[in-house]
């Protein structure tokens, strides 16, 4: 019973991811597997961003830089050095974590809008640099040799395996998000979000805590990057560092509710679902971006706490199950 109480907030998130993982198997359609993978990827990225954005209160506009950088490192090791997939994924995650550690020690000193601007600058600088970096293929990027997939039972089987690794990474992101949220370290982060100066006075080593929050929020995106570009077969600077994808992640976190474990999952689900509907609907097809924009504006103006935050405010009973 005690165990149950302790991990109650984890039930709904894990259930969502588990359902997503078995859904394609039940329906047996490859197209479903692809949409499920897109959602799982969004869940993993949004949950990771939430550690920095929701818990610590630092707005990163260029979080996708970790996805792209980790992806590049992993794909380079996989294709250039012949590393196996699992080692490349781990290396991609570590590389992103290391990048976050180095960057974080420098730019986390900035607050508010200045930090947001710096993250945009980092993303653009990295994109421009990779574009010139010959080891990573410059502007054409790295294309995987088709024979790479042989080790994983052919291309079709490799896609299937990638899907399950994707689900596992989404679970990993959730676990990190939940453990941070319920730990003392996470409590320190929440204090920094509310008032950084007061938190420091209360004995929280803010620079240390912020840097580790940044590192934790960067590792899974790096791993997801490797997996995605492995599945994709190639990696290019434009695909690896899309600034708009960073902002889509922010939208997902806001939609579901920043600072909650379940929020980013719900947000990722809702955003991808909505986009899928708008792109294919005959009425909204041409102006889907405008409709998404208008919806986002309504949420920001009227429900700034997001869906889960709003529910938690309105229905006190739900606070027990919605972490």
């Amino acid at each position: 019973m005690k165990l149950w109480n302790q991990y109650r907030g984890l039930i709904a998130p894990v259930l969502v991811v588990a359902l997503l993982a078995v859904w394609p198997m039940l329906t047996g359609k490859p197209a479903n597997r692809e949409s499920a993978f897109t959602i799982l990827k969004a869940i993993a990225l949004a949950s990771s961003l939430n550690i920095l954005l929701g818990y610590t209160g630092y707005v990163s506009f260029g979080h996708i830089v970790f996805y792209g950088f980790g992806g590049y490192v992993g794909i380079f090791l996989l294709s250039g050095m012949g590393w196996p997939l699992w080692a490349s994924i781990l290396a991609g995650g570590l590389a992103s974590g290391l990048l976050a550690f180095l960057l974080g020690s420098a730019i986390l000193r900035l607050r508010g809008g200045y930090f947001a601007l710096a993250t945009i600058g980092v993303n653009e600088a990295m994109r421009a640099f990779i574009n010139k970096f010959d080891l990573f293929g410059g502007p054409t990027g790295i294309t995987l040799n088709f024979s790479v997939y042989k080790a994983y039972g052919g291309a079709a089987q490799a896609l299937q395996t990638s899907f399950y690794i994707g689900a596992a990474l989404a679970l990993l992101a959730l676990a990190i998000s939940y453990l941070v949220r319920t730990s003392k370290f996470g409590l320190g982060l929440l204090a920094i979000r509310e008032n950084e100066d007061a938190a420091e006075v209360m004995g929280i080593a803010a620079p240390w805590a912020k840097t580790w929050a940044y590192v934790l929020s960067a590792i899974v995106p790096g791993m997801i990057g490797v997996l995605f570009f492995f599945k994709n077969g190639n990696v290019e600077p434009g695909d690896a560092f899309p600034l708009h994808a960073s902002i889509e992640l922010l939208v997902m976190v806001m939609l579901g509710g920043q600072g909650t474990v379940l929020g980013p999952i719900l947000g990722a689900f809702a955003y991808q679902g909505m986009r899928g509907y708008l792109v294919t609907s005959p009425v909204f097809k041409d102006i889907q971006l405008s409709v998404s924009g208008a919806l986002l504006l309504l949420i920001v103006l009227f429900i700034p706490a997001g869906a889960i935050g709003w529910l938690r405010q309105r229905v006190p009973l739900l606070r027990r199950v919605l972490a």
Binding site: R109, L117, A118, E124, I287, S292, A294
Partner: protein
Amino acid sequence: MQQFNLLLASLPDGILLGFVYGLAAMGLTLIWGVMNVINLAHGPIIALGMFSTFFVYSKLGLNPYLGVVPIALLGLLFGILIYAVAVHRVINAPHLSSLLATFSVNMIIIGLGTAALTTSPYNVDFFAGSLQLGSTTLLGTRLIAAFVTLLFTGGLYFFLYRTRPGKHIRAVANNRAAAELMGIPSTRILALSFGLGTMLAAVSGALIATFFPFNILSGGGYELKSFVIGVLGGLGNPIGALFGGLILGMLEGIIPAFLETSWVPVIEFGLFVAILLVRPNGLFGAKK
């Protein structure tokens, strides 16, 4: 020697471009200085300014510079509208809210613009003569644009320092609560400031349209440049933005003489992050 000639050819061009970059950044930095909002709808507004010039020149058949004054007025009104709809409710909320609110305006404009204008390039094919100085050619359109920028900078300076609404804007930027206690209608002043920032963006777009082909997405690049310039000149310091623009323009003129052109963004954004770290208030200090 060859490099020197190349420098002589590209440096004046870069500096003249820098004036217009500065004008765009001035709009961004004015809004930041007055209300601490980073306007992520800046790029699409620059693009709308470009299309306004296209409309004036190609559809109405008028001289593109005749459009500058009406475009400025429309930009002002449009900015006030954006403020009322999207920004006013989140003006006191955390940064994330205002960033996302202006970004949703960005999405709405880009979405409607893409549907109406497609993303294929448009071109304002206007030639305003050129000036030959030794081996260097200065295009008339760039000289006129630099001149218009100076006019607007002077006008903005005069407005902020010599007129009553301008003084109100500076008071609100300095301390909104105190300004309200002194009887300044802060909501109206905030709306006016947002309108002015939008106006400067639209005018810079109108001028850039005479240089390069463009589409509805072209504003994004200038928005990023505006961030870099804003930080160079000190966020919230409109006059610093003009100098920041000139510095960026000079860099764009100097770098290609020594390195490949594709190194320009690496250096620009590297410099941007470095300045944020070392001197977050910019080279010339923030709010004045």
